[in-house]
Subunit: 156 residues, 2 copies
Amino acid sequence: MKRLVLTVIAAGAALTSLSAAAQFQKPEDAIKYRQSALTVMANHLGRVGAMAQGKAPFDAKAAADNAAIVVTMSKLPWVAFAEGTDKGMPTRAKPEIWKEGAKFKDLQTKMMAEAEKFDAAAKTGSLDNIKAAIGDLGKACKACHDDFRAEKYSAN
Amino acid sequence: MKRLVLTVIAAGAALTSLSAAAQFQKPEDAIKYRQSALTVMANHLGRVGAMAQGKAPFDAKAAADNAAIVVTMSKLPWVAFAEGTDKGMPTRAKPEIWKEGAKFKDLQTKMMAEAEKFDAAAKTGSLDNIKAAIGDLGKACKACHDDFRAEKYSAN
């Protein structure tokens, strides 16, 4: 059974992590993973953002479903900003991430807290609640981007 | 308030979708989103795969947490395989996706069902249950990759 699993996994699922100690085998894997988690998060936040801006009809169920994905994704990227993952593929992560770790962590924590509040707001089904919470979450995203995300991708 | 939300969102969160009708503004957005969702899924599946293979210590709580992310992610990519998203940035999506839609959809449905079973297995806390379920899920991943995923990325 173990051999079957091994074969199937290796053949099929393009798995990037094969041990707990080396969750990401290469810096590139970590960069790709954290960019992916943030891309999915931004997309689902955007779906609710469109409702908050009146650019899409308000759908309370869809807003709550999207917010649940946002809060799940908000927790994922941070483990992938490990030491040594400042390059390996194009990234907008600034070197300051690894120089000002405490500040970076503080901004992560604040964003995750705002994501939880946003999720709670979406669950109330009130568009006004959602508008307030998404504004605060957007500010928490921006606070980290301002200090730790470069305008352009690095060359590698 | 609406203006504040608009400004904050535009400035901070790099949102890719601004209306329900145009969930993805450009084919590139759809391709990036679906690749991101599948990358996150593969990573978390891989973390449990490492336990199933004995390459990482079995941690029932971590396995269940990762499986919950896998099942969430399993549902996301498909909306982003819309008509016209066969190119726009490098992709491994084969043209057959848009020629054999019913078959592609059937394989999505099977994979999502196996992901649900995998999640249920992980919740039991039994490594044997997880090994069986992850093998079936890996086969469902592979079945779709065999027919619909190219070996190499397209040039654009």
